[in-house]
């Protein structure tokens, strides 16, 4: 559905996105993670043709975004953090305006969408009177106008209260389930990504440092909880010996490919380190993400 090939964007002399390859398959809920300034919003801007790439190619629905804008974006909906509307106009008028930039949409369809997002009865009120949650629902409504095959959601839960976040999460899953849309979700809320996404990519300083399925992240057999007298030294030794791929500050290590827990136990005992606990662990996305960031930090740049 989305394919980025060696996409680079340089602002001044600072690369915001660096040789990014990304493939979002049809039907997935794909999470895009990374710290502030990692390049997520720039990458999304390029996908929507709002930011010109310095190099590389971007295709959506098999069409080049810059050469065939109508073909690429004709059935794409997007939400950005703190969605903006014409506050002095009604919700209905806002939808009518945004719809016109894709194709004229019949009144019946607009009302159906307003009903779907739960804004029926408030469509004639000015947007300035809407609560934050209602604005988020209106933002969602405008993404549904082009009968989308793909939704690009950039921090959709930003600024929402816990109930709003929960509602947004439910809506994303409902959209995926009922309308069969592919979703690209950029979010700071790891919990949200963990509960909704089927696949993720992690960006750090404009570069992709991980891409894979959520199952791969949750695999129990690759994560071990290790309790020893000096965890930091243990991780250093295990990494150096090629037994661990990464470690977190919370007593977890990621086993290297083909390595079992017995090899870790043997290594620690042979080095004279007491082993108080060695148990497989269900890895959370948060631990995985932090470990990944630590590993990327320790890697020499270039």
């Amino acid at each position: 559905m989305i394919r980025l090939e060696q996409v680079t964007k340089i602002f001044g002399c600072r690369p915001a996105v660096d040789a990014l390859d990304l493939h979002v398959p049809t039907g997935e809920i794909y999470g895009l993670l990374g710290h502030n300034g990692a390049g997520k919003s720039t990458a999304i801007g390029m996908m929507l043709g709002q930011v010109w790439p310095t190099a590389g190619r971007i295709k959506i629905r098999g069409r080049d975004v810059f050469a065939d804008r109508w073909g690429a974006l004709g059935r794409v909906g997007a939400i950005f953090e703190s969605p903006a509307f014409y506050d002095y106009l009604s919700g209905y008028r806002n939808l009518e305006i945004f719809a016109s930039y894709t194709a004229p949409t019949p009144r019946k369809r607009l009302l159906e969408i307003l009903d779907w997002v739960g804004l029926s009865g408030r469509e004639k009120s000015k947007v300035r009177t809407y609560s934050h949650g209602m604005r988020a629902r209106l933002a969602l409504a405008q993404t549904l106008l082009p009968d989308p095959e793909l939704l690009i959601l950039d921090e959709p839960s930003d600024g929402l209260d816990p109930e709003g976040i929960h509602e947004m999460r439910r809506t994303i899953l409902r959209l995926h389930c009922e309308l069969k849309v592919t979703i690209l979700l950029s979010s700071h809320f790891l919990n949200e990504v963990e509960q909704t996404c089927t696949r993720i990519a992690v960006l750090k300083q404009g570069r992709k440092v991980f891409e894979g399925g959520m199952r791969q992240i949750r695999r129990r057999d690759r994560w071990l909880r290790v309790r020893t007298s000096d965890f930091k030294a243990a991780v250093g030794g295990l990494t150096e010996a090629g037994l661990a791929a990464a470690g977190t500050g919370e007593g977890m290590i990621v086993l290297a490919d083909g390595v079992g827990p017995e090899a870790v136990a043997r290594f620690l005992v042979e080095r004279g380190m007491p082993v108080y606990e060695l148990s497989p662990a269900e890895q959370t996305l948060e631990n995985f993400y932090l470990a990944l960031m630590d590993a990327a930090q320790n890697q020499p740049s270039g």
Binding site: Q50, F80, A84, Y86, Y88, R93, Y101, Q142, P146
Partner: protein, 278 residues
């Protein structure tokens, strides 16, 4: 599709309160000027000028005469201010508010979007001038009789006309005033396409106009006056001259049209290459 886009741009433009600041300011200014005309020595001075030139003053101190006199300072001072205020908002305000990013996540091309906005801006300029002209005449008519017209602009026009001819030329002058408003709006629109705040776009446009006005008034630049916009903006007054200087008018109209197109194309070229980010 084009008509739907245009309709929506007009909704956006005329839906917000700041669009009407100009209309309100014009109405206030006109009434203030009318009170001044009515209750100061202005009227007797004008009668003296007319009688000094051999005309019967009472025949020409009329609604049409007063309306044109009221329009002169408003066209010079207020029209640039309020058209550049709206022109500067057209793109930059949407970029600042974030709605531009919402629009450009849709498949519409940037050039088409700009073109529709520009046309909507031109419609605003036309409506503003129409209201300005109609209100000036209406308010003047409330205080002064409907008689012949006397137009005097030092160095350009001195003419007396019957009421029918005066009204015809008054209506025609509105067309050329609209052209002035469209030029100013296009200038502000061009700056609005750059990566700057709406207020900055308005100030840039006004600064450009002010610089033109100042340079044109410096004696050294007298021989280059055709290079400055205010020289061409005076076309609406030349309409009242007898005989009508059509070659001067057509020349200025050509310059103003070319200026509008250039401003739009420069704005479009800049906007096309810009990165739109939050």
């Amino acid at each position: 599709m084009f008509s739907a886009h245009l309709k929506n741009e007009l909704w956006k433009l005329f839906g917000k309160k700041r669009t009407y600041i100009g209309f309100g300011a014009f109405l206030l200014a006109q009434n203030a000027m009318l009170l001044t005309f009515r209750f100061t020595r202005w009227q007797s001075e004008m009668e003296r000028m007319l009688e000094g030139n051999g005309y019967l003053a009472m025949e020409y101190v009329s609604a049409l005469t007063v309306a044109v006199i009221m329009l002169i300072p408003q066209v010079i001072l207020l029209l640039p201010l309020y058209t550049s205020l709206v022109g500067g908002d057209l793109v930059a305000k949407e970029a600042e508010d974030g709605t531009l990013r919402m629009i450009l996540s849709r498949p519409i091309s940037r050039l088409r979007l700009l073109f529709v906005k520009w046309i909507a801006g031109m419609i605003f300029a036309g409506v503003l001038v129409l209201v300005l002209g109609a209100a000036a005449l209406l308010f003047a008519w409330m205080w002064f009789p409907w008689k012949g017209m006397f137009v005097f602009a030092p160095g350009m026009v001195f003419n007396v006309l019957g009421a029918a001819d005066g009204l015809r030329l008054y209506l025609l002058s509105q067309v050329f005033m609209t052209m002035n408003a469209v030029v100013i709006l296009s200038l502000a629109f061009m700056f609005s396409c750059f990566n700057m705040k709406p207020a900055a776009a308005t100030i840039m446009a006004l600064s450009f106009l002010f610089l033109n006005l100042v340079m044109e008034s410096i004696p050294f630049f007298e021989r280059y006056q055709e290079w400055f916009l205010p020289y061409h903006f005076r076309v609406w007054l030349y309409i009242y001259a007898d005989p009508t200087p059509w070659s001067r008018i057509l020349g200025s109209v050509s310059v103003l049209v070319a200026f509008c197109l250039t401003a739009f194309l420069v704005g479009a070229a800049v906007f096309q290459t810009r990165d739109i980010k939050s």
